[in-house]
């Protein structure tokens, strides 16, 4: 049975429908990528799954329970959280306070302040700095650390490589192996196809709010992905 199952999800902004009938499944301990161009509806989809966006139709099942209409905080306490696009740290709080807020979910698990600092030694050194004063890459690490502090069973990551230097992106993706090793399922949303597919075992490609292609990353050819990404078969 899948840890997270999304069935036929429609998401709206007022009269505008951003996600159309998306279905997907993520198994325990697996890493899944959702790729697609800017505006394909990926972020909207994630926001709807974690309960931040209420205007939706369809079904989100997490750990066997229907959480479609649950609030985001209840979903986070149940073990599903997100690293939001643009990091969205609590800017006036210190790095350590940011991480401690993550612990407010009250879930037991392997992730503690010490473990997060072991994963990202650099932010351990900066733990008394205001989060807003950090560089983009460091902030991204704090954002991932904050999400880990909730000890999630599944971690959704929204565009974590956006605006970061290639070397830092590489560092962050390397950490996913360590995170995955603790049994956490991961969903990464990316515009950066190569990076995401390398990290994931399964990928969905989104185009104009719909899933245009899916399959195990090993079986997906670059041509098929390119076509699904840009919608070339329509052209």
């Amino acid at each position: 049975m899948s840890l997270l199952r999304v069935e036929n999800l429609d998401v709206f902004y007022g009269d505008f429908q951003a996600v159309r009938g998306v279905s997907l499944a993520v198994d325990e301990g697996r890493t899944v990528a959702i790729i697609g161009a800017n505006g394909a509806g990926k972020s909207t989809l994630l926001n709807a799954i974690v309960g931040l966006h209420p205007q939706k139709r369809g079904k989100v099942v997490f750990a066997g329970a229907d959480v479609t209409s649950n609030r985001a905080d209840a979903i986070a306490r149940a073990g599903m959280t997100m690293v939001p696009e643009g990091r969205r740290l609590f800017g006036t709080l210190t790095v350590e306070d940011n991480l401690r807020v993550g612990a407010a979910a009250g879930r037991k698990g392997p992730w503690t302040l010490g473990e997060v600092y072991r994963l990202f030694p650099r932010i351990g050194e900066l733990r008394h700095m205001p989060a807003a004063s950090l560089s983009g890459g460091q902030q991204q690490m704090v954002a991932i650390g904050r999400a880990l502090m909730t000890n999630p069973r599944i971690l959704l990551c929204d565009e974590i490589s956006l605006g970061l230097a290639p070397k830092i992106i590489l560092d962050i993706y390397r950490c996913f192996e360590a995170i995955s090793a603790t049994g956490v399922s991961i969903v990464v949303i990316e515009q950066n196809v190569g990076q995401a597919c390398a990290a994931a075992q399964y990928a969905y490609c989104m185009l104009e709010g719909k899933v245009s292609l899916e399959g195990p990353t090993a079986d997906l050819s670059m041509e098929a992905i390119t076509a699904a990404y840009f919608g070339l078969d329509h052209a």
Partner: protein, 335 residues
């Protein structure tokens, strides 16, 4: 869609003509005492509509519109008493003075937003009230009479005041309608809904808000002058009374902020309330407050909002904003 948009202003024009004819004919059929009540109803409706214009169309909430009621009244009384001129002829002065005062304070209060802007206007009203209360040449606490109308025939005064009040009410309905479908109205709607989008399409947000605030406040001043002309006497405690604000808010909230029809309903409810519970003093004010709280909890768009969504009736709705809103949301989604 096009058919409706083309036809509605014409229909509204016809309605305006009928309404104006009714107002003109009224003094021949209605006793002077009833006319006085109608003057009050029209003036209060104009106050409410002035606030509604600011809150619902310009996007500026003010808790100090009593400032302009008082300013308009004092301006008219003083100008007429000093110069001996007929107050009915110099009435536009009340508009000019109130609008000018609004223009003067805007650069400072516009630095604040939302409730802080709202309360800062109230603070200014309090300053003006205390200032006038302490100046003998302004009549101090006991206020000023309107000297000029004493020598005029009662019926002339009553009829003239009634026509002015009627004109205010007509402007509050039809003027607001035509304003809301004009270029300025659309600019105001754009600024109210989303300042960033508005400035992106080339609207000067600050000046649009400024112009709306000055216009709305000037109108309130004019209505204040007409109201106090009908009672012949103005004093600072009454003219700058925050309870004016309570009444305006009640009418607009109950009826539906940002609609033209809502405050008409609100005004009717307010005066019925007042007639039924006149003897109960504070109880009646409490009920106004409680009704406002309830409306906010049940339907922030007021009674007219419910009517519009449940029955699909839209008489004077010029809010073509819905298309604008949807498109601005689309751009947000894409980002």
């Amino acid at each position: 869609m096009t058919r409706l948009l083309l036809k509605r202003p014409t229909l509204v024009a016809a309605a305006a003509v009928v309404a104006a004819a009714l107002v003109i004919a009224t003094p021949w059929f209605v006793a002077e005492g009833d006319m006085r009540l109608m003057i009050e109803i029209f003036a209060v409706f104009a106050f409410a509509q002035g606030w509604n214009f600011l809150a619902g169309y310009v996007g500026i909430m003010s808790f100090g519109q009593q400032l302009f009621i008082g300013l308009g009244a004092y301006c008219l009384f003083l100008a007429s008493n000093w110069t001996g001129l007929n107050p009915f002829l110099i009435l536009p002065l009340a508009f000019v003075f109130s609008a000018g005062f609004a223009a003067m304070i805007s650069p400072f209060i516009f630095r604040l937003r939302d409730a802080y802007l709202a309360i800062s206007i109230w603070v200014i009203a309090e300053i003006v009230r205390s200032f006038i209360s302490q100046r003998d040449w302004l009549g101090s606490v006991s206020g000023l009479p309107l000297v000029a109308t004493r020598e005029m025939a009662r019926s002339v005064v009553a009829t003239s005041t009634f026509y002015y009040a009627g004109a205010l009410a007509l402007i509050s309905v039809f003027g607001l309608y035509y304003l809301s479908i004009s270029r300025l109205g659309l600019a105001l709607a754009a600024v109210r809904d989303n300042e960033e989008t508005a400035s992106a399409i080339g609207i000067n947000v600050w000046w649009t808000r400024f112009f709306g605030f000055v216009l709305g406040s000037g109108f309130t001043g004019l209505a204040g002058a007409v109201y106090y002309m009908s009672v012949f006497h103005v004093e600072p405690g009454g003219a700058f009374d925050p309870n004016w604000m309570v009444i305006m808010l009640f009418i607009v909230i109950i009826g539906g902020v940002g609609t033209i029809e809502g405050p008409i309903i609100g005004t009717a409810i307010y005066f019925l309330f007042r007639a039924w519970f006149a003897g109960t003093g504070n109880l009646y004010l409490m009920m106004l407050g409680a009704a406002a709280v309830l409306v906010m909890l049940i339907s922030p768009s007021g009674i007219w909002g419910i009517v519009k969504s449940k029955l699909g009736i839209d008489l004077l709705g010029a809010r073509r904003a819905s298309g604008l809103e949807a498109s601005s949301k689309k751009t947000r989604t894409a980002s």
